[in-house]
Symmetry: C2
Subunit: 477 residues, 2 copies
């Protein structure tokens, strides 16, 4: 129900100017060689990791600094033309598509690490810095940045989608590790949200409002992040289970016992098989947990012993773990290959990755029902997940030239989204809404949706910032 008092004056309509020529000309005058309308480049930037058609922008701008971003957004606002920020293009729900055309701002050249404050365990970066680049840079400091979505995503993109990954169970998600942002608003102003203090009670939490807003409330030009000390000892291992349910139950007990596990990742039997084939491994092809402990040598050993006791209750077997770095890397490589290994199960198909997240007590049930649903459909869809958070992924291998396969995949994704919501969870734990999950926003948020839309209208009255994302939008009149 849309509250009449909150009905936005412009109900998140796409910008009303469908003729972008004048805007492009103005951008060309300001940015000259930095701007291109080359069709191939545009298509690369309107790419999607979903089953949706490519929706290219009208032009792509490579920005060098915040002033470039501010000027570009101000011009787009003046001409009421859409503007979409682009990191490295690894988002999974069509966040970067340009359904109404407009300008794509490519942030890759804004990739400076501006300052590391070792004493405060903070770092300030430009949004084009990738997570691997950051950790490489930090290699001699004893510190690391823990958030690791599968791809080597840009920090700006990770802010936009509220990303997480394998370490989130211990270190949190982007919501937890961002201290402050610099953001270009819809009118082209540069504002700062937050400070370098670890906490604050001063005013509204604009930082958290921007995180996960998928470029619809502002464009991030600087990010201050928390860092963490690399533990003196790291122990990684794996163990096997007779069923996915048993693996989930072992995970649930691990979390319920408050074991400070750093990573706990599920691969179902099909995913393990895919990893074996892809990397010539010989892991036992049963549901498997990959785990990691961080701490002192004594504490890691203690955690591993407790974990061994837990899994024994659920017929977990062959648990072994290592602190040797080469051995650990080899083990996690198998996990990190999951996406490509799965894709190789059916090379002619396109992998569609979907995710959901439920309270941990519902995890076993949600995963089992989903596995049954996939099996009943006859599709190939390995399951892999950050199960310590109640979060898991299905990678459906779809022939996107076959409409009935797409429909089948959409049905599975839709049933999973609604199943997770019905279990008091969310239709996406970390991939975001983009275009792919708009239809579940009403079910998940109900009467809170008009509040989000009122905020959007207040901060972006012309709806130029990434229009057509997060909620379904009517076509321009």
């Amino acid at each position: 129900m849309l509250s009449s008092s909150l009905a936005p004056t412009t109900p998140n309509l796409p910008p009303q100017n469908a003729n972008h020529a004048e805007a492009i000309a103005a951008l060309q005058a300001r940015f000259s060689q930095q701007l291109t309308t080359n069709a191939t480049v545009r298509e690369q930037h309107g790419h999607t990791m979903t089953w949706l058609t490519n929706q290219p922008p009208d032009a792509v701008l490579t920005v060098q600094d915040k002033q470039d971003v501010a000027d570009a957004v101000a011009l787009c606002n003046q001409f009421k033309m859409p503007v979409i920020a682009f990191g490295i293009g690894s988002s999974l729900e069509g966040q970067l598509n340009a359904p109404y055309g407009g300008l794509c701002i490519d942030m890759h050249a804004m990739n400076a690490i501006l300052r590391v404050d070792n004493e405060d365990l903070t770092v300030t970066v430009q949004p084009g810095v990738t997570r691997e680049q950051l950790n490489h840079y930090l290699r001699d400091t004893g510190l690391f940045f823990p958030i690791d979505p599968g791809a080597n995503a840009s920090i700006g993109g990770m802010v936009a989608t509220r990303a997480s990954g394998t370490n989130a169970v211990r270190y949190g998600t982007m919501k937890d590790v961002v201290l402050a942002l610099e953001v270009v608003t819809a009118s082209g102003e540069i504002v700062r949200t937050g400070t370098r203090a670890k906490k604050s009670a001063a005013g509204y939490d604009l930082t958290r409002l921007m995180i996960g807003s998928e470029g619809t409330l502002g464009i991030v030009t600087e990010v201050t992040l928390k860092l963490f000390g690399i533990s003196e000892c790291i122990g990684s291992g794996l163990c096997h289970f007779p069923t996915v349910e048993a693996a989930c139950q072992a995970t649930m007990l691990t979390i319920q016992m408050c074991l400070p596990i750093a990573r706990i990742e599920l691969l179902d039997a099909l995913q393990v098989k895919a990893c074996n084939q892809y990397a010539n491994l010989n892991l036992q092809e049963t549901p498997t947990l990959f785990i990691e402990f961080h701490g002192t040598e004594a504490s890691v050993a203690e955690q591993a012993a407790t974990f061994a006791d837990i899994i024994a209750e659920f017929d977990g077997t062959d648990f072994n773990w290592h602190t040797d770095e080469a051995e650990r890397k080899r083990l996690w490589q198998a996990r990190h290959n999951a996406y490509h290994a799965s894709a190789a199960l059916r090379p002619s198909a396109k992998p569609l990755s979907t995710d959901a997240c439920v309270p941990i007590s519902r995890l076993a049930e949600c995963v089992s029902e989903t596995a049954k649903d996939i099996a009943a459909s006859g599709m190939i869809g390995p399951i892999v997940g950050h199960v310590g958070d109640g979060n898991f992924h299905v990678l459906l291998l779809v022939d996107t030239d076959n409409p009935s396969e797409i429909a089948k995949a959409e049905d599975i994704i839709g049933r999973l989204a609604l199943r997770a919501i019905a279990m008091e969870g969310t239709c996406t734990g970390e991939h975001g809404i983009g275009q792919g999950k708009q239809k579940y926003m009403q079910q998940e948020h109900g009467d809170a949706l008009p509040l989000m839309q009122a905020i959007k209208s207040a901060l972006d009255p012309n709806n130029i910032l990434n229009p057509g994302k997060i909620w379904p939008q009517p076509l321009a009149g």
Copy 2:
């Protein structure tokens, strides 16, 4: 600079209806005995812990359920009358004053613990539940709720001010432990934000937006919180330092070494003296750290050994710690008495508590400069702090009948706020803005302030929700 494109249509003016009689009559018709206009009750609810005069509301309503709240807010919105939610009245910056009169909604009767989900480590409560009530209720579950502002605050109030406390260094603040809220909006609708899933990437983070908004964006009617397992072993101790600076430096190194300390609290020499006098103790009257370790027996012992090494570098002495519960309680009682112990240093005066928070690398400097400032003023102002977060408090003992003392206290508070902001920190780590710190919002947030105001106007167009707080407001025309 107020961006013209963001200039709110109603610039957060107080409600334009200064005659509340009609609204009170309508509320009386709906709520009968639940509503009172008794002067004493009104004065109790317009109380303030700052130096400001009592500003009572026109009436006080005791609500029994969310529908009461929704109906009351809808009526206030209809008549454009201010409405202020009241928990137990322990906020410190005038958050509960009614500068424009209106309705105070007393939430104390909405104090049910609605459900505990042990398996998920979550609990859902009504906003009138206090933190001590919650932990008492949880006593047989092995779980606890860690956020502990000094007072036995209500959970709703703690949401409103983004509260934290002594455990925040390990367990986070309200920002980190709230999973979901139920909120009554300015138009009187009941909406839910968030789910019971541990993480989500679905849409704007309304939960975090509401947390810390001090009742200006909605009134919380239900809160779902994360709980934590009580550690198998808890070790508490204290140690003494020659100077406040040395104690802060030991704290800084503890944090920089990523020791997972659960509490690390500073009391300056004056505060220790006050505690000795108040509770007849004989602690050494030098700057003192109270600390606590959570973990297994082995890990607590390991943490304590590391901590002993750290403080030795800064001439810390007499470090001893205990795992015995009675001994631990005795020790922390001294810390928890700090407020009343300080107040007793000058019984005729009123204690004004202020707080600030800086990046940990600036902590020693910020505390030292503040201590010098207090000394130079001749005022009595013990310092105590959650120093692991870079957060500390000054408790100024002020004769509030003496305008020159008030002015002197305001000066100290102002200089501390600006000092913290200049050090890339915040003018309040946990008490909030209320009326007391409005004047520092511009310095801290600059051009981000209009964004906050635009959000406020969008969600509360009549500005009925706790008007006159967070930012300075023009008087009604």
